[in-house]
């Protein structure tokens, strides 16, 4: 569960005030809105990279407003992916596990399992130079999911992909988030993407987050 209670954020001249919304556990939520409205700022605040001026953030009913990013257990895929230039694909998938001091056999088992799910087993020993957009996206997704986070934050993860790869990645995203039972917040301004993936959709408009009618709501009303 992700809950924001009357959050106020500042990013240079830009500010967001009194933003509130709640995503139930295990749901795939999509946050839409025009460019420059503060979607990324909200995501950064949830994962602890943006200081919160006022309000509270809860992850699974625990207030994490002032917790360090490392303590929140949130998987984050930024828009530019921010892959690590000096690491191999395997290094990316292992990174969070090594930080958590997992044993070598467990790291290897998890890395192999994840690589297979992502379809990057043949790339494990390659550096990130020369990876295609789709391959880079898979690596970033695997890196974020490797340590079984309870929350996954995706910042326009499919925006730089061609139509075929985007379609393929949408399927992968859905299957992986279902398999990991992770609460997901996905930012996009692509309506088609939102329709395909979202259990629940939100719209960021004039500094307010409004819930749009969800698949769940539609099913209940029938």
């Amino acid at each position: 569960m992700i809950e924001l209670q009357a959050i106020s954020l500042r990013a240079g001249q830009f500010s967001l005030d009194q933003v509130s919304f709640k995503i139930e556990s295990g749901r795939y939520a999509v946050l839409m809105g025009k460019t420059g409205r503060g979607k990324t700022t909200i995501l950064e605040a949830i994962c602890g990279l943006r200081r919160v001026v006022a309000g509270k953030i809860f992850i699974h009913s625990t207030e994490v407003t002032h917790w360090l990013p490392a303590e929140r257990g949130v998987g984050y895929v930024p828009q530019d992916l921010a892959l690590f230039p000096t690491y191999t694909v395997r290094g990316h998938l292992e990174f969070a596990l090594k930080i958590r001091r997992w044993s070598r056999p467990k790291i290897d088992e998890r890395t192999d399992e994840l690589a297979e799910q992502l379809g990057v087993t043949h790339l494990l020993n390659r550096t990130i130079d020369g990876l295609s957009g789709g391959e880079s996206q898979r690596v970033a997704l695997g890196r974020a999911l490797s340590f079984y986070p309870s929350v996954l934050l995706l910042d326009e993860p499919l925006s730089a992909l061609d139509a075929d790869t985007r379609w393929e990645m949408q399927g992968l995203l859905k299957s992986l988030t279902d398999a990991h039972d992770v609460t997901t917040l996905h930012i996009t301004h692509n309506q088609e993407e939102a329709t395909a993936l979202a259990d629940v959709s939100y719209q960021l408009c004039d500094g307010r987050v409004e819930k749009l009618e969800s698949k769940h709501d539609q099913a209940s009303s029938r």
């Binding site: 990279l49 990013p69 949130v74 930024p78 530019d80 921010a82 990174f95 974020a144």
Partner: protein, 304 residues
């Protein structure tokens, strides 16, 4: 009048009425594609190359003049003098220690100045640049005053000499400290630019994956900064090699004790031994070139 294309002179009426030949239409097509008259790039390269080569030529002429001045026999004779051999060894040692100390300090300082906005940052940024703009003799004098100025009855040099048993002024540590004071400022500049060019977002992602800020620095930023570190070390070493003013004031120029190659040139000149001064100068040039080439090759090798 026919239509006028920008930058192309209108054709005269006689040509307008004549049937266009294949050559004319090809010429016009090229003119229209370019949008203006074709101009040669040669003047551009002549002007840019001419201005650039002035500096390169000046350096080459300086070196050639030195080479022409010193004979091989005089060069050998000068280099086998025990004082100069001592100065050579102390130079290598002190420059290396000063460069290593510089990179040790410049890496965290460059990182902090690049990544964080904190109160007093501009002031610290300015302070770091002071050794670069300060006259070298003034820096040496300031070091001397710092070590001998009593602070409430306590003096750094006296404490180091009497309590620690490690006197600094007019001894080899003073040479290293004088070189470090200037070299470090250049290394900090280089490291700051290096970290400016490394995207901080990867470090942020590492923090969400469980890293502290320290771990994110060591595991993400640091491995990306090695090329900048090599450059900063090279620059610091080269600056330390050429340092003279602060060493003269703070460490003195005592033969077989605090003499480095830059002070050797001064000492040999002061006793009228121009041949030895030129020989040592050429040795310093050779050392600088060797260090630059080796480090660049090392950098290229690591890159490939």
């Amino acid at each position: 009048m026919g239509p006028v294309v920008w930058g192309v002179e209108p054709m005269n009426d006689a040509r307008q009425t004549a049937a266009p030949t294949l050559h004319d239409s090809e010429t016009n097509r090229r003119s229209l594609i370019a949008g203006h008259r074709r101009r040669s790039d040669v003047p551009f390269f002549v002007v840019m190359g001419g201005i650039s080569s002035c500096f390169v030529l000046l350096i080459v002429l300086l070196l050639l003049a030195d080479l022409r001045f010193a004979s091989l026999a005089e060069f050998k004779e000068a280099l086998f003098k025990p004082e100069i051999q001592f100065a050579f060894q102390l130079t290598i040692l002190s420059c290396t220690v000063a460069a290593l100390l510089s990179i040790w300090v410049a890496t965290p300082l460059g990182y902090l100045l690049s990544r964080y906005r904190f109160p007093g940052r501009t002031l610290i940024d300015t302070i770091v640049d002071i050794p670069i703009v300060l006259p070298p003799l003034v820096l040496g004098l300031s070091l001397l005053i710092l070590f001998h100025q009593p602070f409430f009855g306590w003096e750094i040099e006296a404490w180091l000499r009497d309590t620690v048993g490690f006197p600094v002024t007019y001894r080899w540590p003073a040479v290293v400290l004088a070189q470090f004071s200037v070299a470090c400022a250049f290394a900090v500049r280089t490291m700051r630019v290096t970290f400016d060019q490394i995207d901080p977002r990867a470090e942020n992602v590492a923090r969400t994956l469980g890293c502290s800020r320290g771990q994110a620095f060591l595991q993400i930023a640091f491995p990306q900064a090695w090329r900048g570190m090599i450059a900063a070390t090279t620059i610091a070493w080269a600056r330390a090699l050429g340092e003279f003013g602060p060493i003269l004031v703070f460490a003195g120029a005592t033969r077989m004790r605090t003499e480095v190659l830059s002070t050797t040139v001064f000492l040999e000149l002061s006793i009228g031994n121009l041949d030895a001064a030129v020989a040592v100068s050429l040795l310093m040039v050779a050392m600088a070139v060797v260090v630059l080439v080796v480090l660049r090759l090392l950098g290229t090798g690591l890159t490939s």
